[in-house]
């Protein structure tokens, strides 16, 4: 599927209740802003809660709110038209103000790829939903993210430090991590 049709398909799963009011907005091209609530109504042509972007990346990027992450991921995997069954990269990213996770997905049947980004502004106690039940590889990948970024994943079966010892303080890959002894800053 092309990025355009993917965007239309995926956007239709999470219609924006706000956009329903000014219904003449049918443009789904780029950079719509979404709001926080999930709508139960089905309005396929309405702009979505998800933010799509292709700027500066070779993939179609979807920015999703943490609340919709799990249902979006479940649909991406199960929908016969998208079928993203291969999670080939899961990276934690510290964007400065917010922490987040980037999911790189590929479909082994349709051979299209997509990037899902989720961000949480809570740096003290960041929590996201685990996608372990959708892709089993996420178990280890999420443990790695937890280890280095301190992002907690709900419903994760075995969330504990993977590389570092249990007593380790701090999360080393965060930008504000300071270790004057072991880190060599050039």
């Amino acid at each position: 599927m092309t990025n355009q049709s993917l965007q239309e398909l995926i956007g239709s799963w999470f219609p924006n209740p706000e956009a329903e009011k000014d219904s003449d907005v049918v443009d789904v091209a780029e950079n719509e802003e979404g709001s926080e609530d999930i709508s139960t109504t089905q309005e396929p042509i309405n702009p979505s809660l998800l933010v799509f972007s292709e700027e500066g990346s070779q993939f179609l990027n979807i920015i999703v709110q943490p609340e919709q992450l799990h249902s979006l991921m479940a649909q991406l995997k199960s929908n016969p038209d998208s079928q993203f069954d291969y999670l080939f990269c899961l990276s934690g990213v510290d964007w400065g103000a917010e922490l987040g996770v980037v999911y790189h997905l590929e479909s082994t049947t349709h051979r299209h790829s997509i990037v899902v980004k989720v961000k949480t502004p809570d740096r003290e106690n960041p929590t996201l939903d685990s996608v372990y039940d959708i892709w089993m590889t996420a178990e280890f990948l999420e443990r790695e993210v937890y280890d280095f970024f301190g992002i907690t994943f709900n419903n994760h079966p075995n969330l504990k430090r993977l590389f570092l010892t249990d007593e380790w303080e701090g999360f080393p890959l965060r930008k504000d991590y300071v270790d004057e002894i072991n880190m060599v800053i050039k």
């Binding site: 700027e55 500066g56 990027n61 069954d85 291969y86 990269c89 082994t108």
Partner: protein
């Protein structure tokens, strides 16, 4: 009065065993916490991080040229392909077109790296199932490739031959002749490998039906490389997203459907043949031209996100660069094949014996620095 309860049933008891971090079968400093009932494995829990060097954090302070040499130290058995991945990512980001000569040389050396990695794997695989002699035969053939690398790149393992924009220096004048000698030599040796190990009845007993991974599980666990292909899952990045000169050659993707240890073994043996065929197609057709395109001394990537996928000897390596337009990456993530392949160990080893676990681990072909980046 206290009641004493006498247990009449004979009870078996599960117990823990620490396999590693110093254990002959873990090939490095991997620690497995095994829960065992007699000989039967109930649970495998890997404990990682004994040699973690936080390469991703180091990358955030290094320039793009310096990052390349760090990747040698990840999966050191396919170091050249790792180098290539970062270089391709940087070149794609800069939209820099490298000369054909560079592409062809990169592909040849990459395939040689794959063969050398598989040679080592073959030797170690034999050793893990108890046939110690294979180790030396595998190393003998690997030695020839290492000599080629040493002559051209200056180092045997951590070559750092690729730089963003091309190669550090041109191939050695002896390179083509040596590679051709190697092809002739190695074509007589793979059948020998088959006679010694592949056909052996004990080896069949040890590997067939052991550690079975279905196709669905392989995809769900993100298995890639020979592990994924042995489960019938076409995941060769060289085929689906060809890079360098791989779009100019024809080769078959080695796919088996059994998903057991023997299938993974066969896939790797077949991959050696395919790599030989790729090298044969290219070695006589190295185009003349520059070996390097000049880049700025300080490489600054444009703002954005770049992802490059390559196929190392172990599977799919991904380089994910988030750039903010400075000379250092804002975030650099390596998607390492070994990490995903390790995560499925518990899934396929449970229910087997200790000997099965060792054979299964041997065909997952784990390189611990690749996991403990």
């Amino acid at each position: 009065m206290e009641e004493t309860i006498v247990e009449t049933n004979f009870k078996s008891e599960e117990y823990f065993i620490n396999m590693g971090p110093q254990h002959p079968a873990t090939h490095g400093v991997l620690r497995l916490l095994l829960t065992i009932d007699g000989e039967i494995i109930k649970k495998v829990e890997p404990d990682l991080g004994y040699i973690h060097r936080s390469i991703e954090k180091m990358c955030e302070r290094d320039s793009y040229q310096q990052i390349v040499h760090l990747t040698d130290r990840m999966d050191y058995l396919s170091s050249n392909i790792n180098n290539e991945a970062v270089c391709l990512a940087v070149e794609n980001a800069l939209q820099l077109e490298v000369p054909d000569r560079v592409k062809v040389i990169r592909t040849i050396i990459g395939e040689l790296t794959r063969i050398s990695s598989h040679c080592l794997w073959w030797g170690v695989m034999g050793m893990d199932v108890g046939a110690l002699t294979t180790y030396f035969y595998g190393f003998r053939d690997r030695e020839m490739i290492n000599d080629i690398f040493e002559e051209t790149c200056g180092a045997r393992l951590t070559m750092n031959y690729n730089v963003p924009g091309g190669l550090m220096f041109d191939i050695h004048p002896n390179f083509i002749k040596r590679v051709k000698d190697f092809i002739v030599h190695f074509k007589t040796k793979i059948p020998e490998y088959d006679r010694l190990l592949t056909g052996n009845v004990i080896f069949h007993k040890r590997t067939k039906g052991v550690g079975v991974l279905t196709k669905e599980d392989a995809i769900s666990f993100g298995a890639s490389g020979p592990v994924g292909r042995a489960s019938g899952y076409s995941c060769d990045v060289r085929k689906h997203r060809p890079y360098s000169a791989l779009d100019k050659v024809t080769f078959n993707e080695a796919i088996k459907t059994d998903g057991d240890t023997f299938a993974r073994y066969e896939v790797r043996i077949q991959e050696m043949w395919e790599s030989l065929s790729i090298i044969e197609q290219l070695i006589d057709n190295i185009p003349e031209g520059e070996y390097r395109v000049a880049t700025n001394a300080v490489i600054k990537l444009p703002k954005g996100e770049f992802y490059q996928r390559v196929e190392t000897a172990r599977g799919e390596l991904g380089v994910y660069i988030i750039s903010t337009g400075t000379k250092n990456p804002y975030r650099l993530k390596f998607r390492s094949p070994g990490f995903s392949n390790l995560s499925l160990l518990n899934h396929i080893a449970v229910g087997g014996k200790i000997g099965d676990l060792v054979a299964t681990m041997a065909t997952l072909d784990l390189v611990i620095p690749d996991i403990d980046r």
